[in-house]
Symmetry: none
Subunit: 213 residues, 4 copies
DNA sequence: CATGAATGAGGTTTCATTCAT
DNA sequence: AATGAATGAAACCTCATTCAT
């Protein structure tokens, strides 16, 4: 599930031995910026993510942003990438922990994995679900859905859960519908309406049932 | 399913005998502006909807926009309102034409009604589904989904299609999921992937089946 | 004390016998507009005097303003002229009513005459004292002070109140200082601080005393 | 007589060894802008003080104004503050240089101190006396008069020049009348009519005489 | 005469990015 | 590497005035 340094316009070029080596300081600064950006997105929406605002929130000069990122879009993408990676990890870990594999179990596990990440990283909700107006995010979001769908499909096939060939399109539909369920469930507050999540799990499970072996 | 002239800052006030009466000319101009805005949203997204861009596309001075609309948001809302009204009409008409009422038939009819509107008004997809970043649109979009869900629920209850009380939340979830299906189906091209639409109809029907009488 | 139709870009052109003759209707409309403008200036200052605001307040189409006035400045000037005329009348009337003529009595009578007008026409304070930023008003204000100074000087000379020739400049200074006294006295509230007015009368009287016969 | 860096949105932060240090260059630019603004106000009045006009006159991009000032009002206030500070300094210096203290000497010295500043900074006349329409300036102007009146009163009391308690209102009236004298004296040309100034000094002195010890 | 409609000109402010140091 | 300063471009909106009817 790819490693994703796309979006980071900075190359680690390190030089010598210092107390706090360049590379390390740089990494910290990047985190500092991304954290600030994350906070901003969460609090005020994607549109409020101006360079000035990020810089202020991160307590970094505006010009310095361009030391670590190529442009504003780059920051946004890096932000997304960071959360996305965490999402993938969580998904992978939870899938590995399933006791009795079945298609419904797969669906439920995946969806619950996402809710865990949402709980930890509320900015994700904001960006992923509401920030879709931004072309870069929209594009990246679509890609990610495709990836997840593909990965889950592969996983299910490998585990012998499917009765026959399932077109990628179907898997993608399931993933995207799942996302919308989250969108609705997390629209009101950032805790998420768990009842709706349950309904969503039922819907997607039910939809995929015919493909189950 | 209200008529919705909200968002139109122009009032039809006088009439008179003229070749092209004032009122008429005014209406035309409003359409001209909305069409242009619609085109822009479709081509470049909601963020590209600047007053300047609209004015240029509509071949109208920027200042003239403010003859017909109170501010930029007003334009956006009028745009939405126009499509929304058409959607409601189509839905109403098609529901009235159903032969054998049943919950699945209801779902299918409703979803197909929407596809008809999408075909006629592609900008709708863009605004409704992708323009959600804009606070005004987001708010209005949410309202509309609630309305549709509520109307369909009432319709189904009145027709005795439901076995027991269905919480509004469930209906809303179904509507929103339906929207996402369309989003995906219409993502690639504006003709819409009909296969995906069929899948979506199956998914939503299946989901609601337990509530069917 | 001049007649002052300057500023009124409208010519009375009347035509025939009607219930409410043109001329009359026109005059009414002009008053209506001036009253509205007066109100606006009073409430929101000279800068808020936009054509749109005037039109709205007067319940008259914006375009119609141009039937009665040449341009916006014309309205402002007409406004000033109206109050100015009233001021002159009051001054004249009160001067005529003085029992025992003397220079101090003249000063006191004049200043009290102005306070009467201020009480009746609070917009005057706003325009005359605060609206000086507007070049037209500034110019007109200067003219008016010169007129008043000249008239009072003539009056005093005719009444044999002066011991010797008083340069116009001196009279003007006295008038302008008097105005500033009012400015200060009426700065806080529109009722005017009468104590300050008394002080002002004493100051100006004292200043002119050396010229008294 | 505070030092008044209010209105200056720029903070001097660092310094270093450079031919023309940052700080210095910044200060110059601020002066450049204020000088341009001053010129504009003088030539065309406060209303002509648009950001565009200032930028043009200062030969600086409009956007750069916002490097040094928070908004347009900030420029105006900085302008006022600059002149105001100079006025206070002059007043203080001249008061300190009085040989034989007396109330008339105090009045004369103060008024002559102002004429010195007017001679050096003609824009002051424009802003202070004619720009009062602007709310920010009006407010600041009022404050300043109160300050000067209060300071002079204190000074006179400390020097034992007053026979009994003089209400602040009286001092304020004297100061404001003095200002109007200047307004008139400097109305025609910027050299100022010295004869009128003399008259003004006499008037104010005479007015305050009763309070003299 | 009356006026709805139209508009060129201009208003202030913010933005993302680059540059000189 | 770091950053204060600089800025072209663009954002939305309002204004006074004119014109066609």
């Amino acid at each position: 599930m790819l490693e994703g340094n796309r979006g980071t316009g900075v190359a680690a070029r390190r030089s010598a031995t210092r107390r706090v080596p360049r590379q390390e300081r740089s990494r910290r600064r990047v985190e500092q910026i991304l954290d600030a950006a994350s906070r901003l997105v969460l609090e005020r929406g994607v549109d409020a993510l101006t360079t000035r605002a990020i810089a202020e929130a991160a307590d970094v000069p505006v010009a310095s942003l361009y030391q670590y990122f190529h442009d504003k879009e780059d920051i946004l993408l890096a932000l997304v990438e960071r959360d996305r990676a965490e999402m993938d990890e969580q998904l992978l870990a939870d899938l590995a922990g399933i006791d009795e594999l079945s298609l419904p179990a797969l669906v439920e596990t995946a969806m619950r994995a996402f809710t865990k990440v949402y709980a930890r990283r509320p900015a994700f909700v904001e960006i992923w679900l509401r920030g879709r107006d931004n072309p870069a995010i929209r594009e990246r979001g679509r890609e990610h859905s495709v990836e997840i769908a593909s990965n889950l499909l592969q996983f299910a096939e490998a585990a012998g859960l499917l009765s026959h060939d399932v077109p990628p399109k179907i898997a993608l539909l399931a993933v995207e519908v799942g996302e919308r369920v989250f969108q609705l469930a997390y629209a009101q507050d950032l805790e998420g309406d768990q009842e709706l999540v349950e309904e969503g799990i039922r819907m997607v499970s039910g939809y995929l049932a015919p493909y189950s072996r």
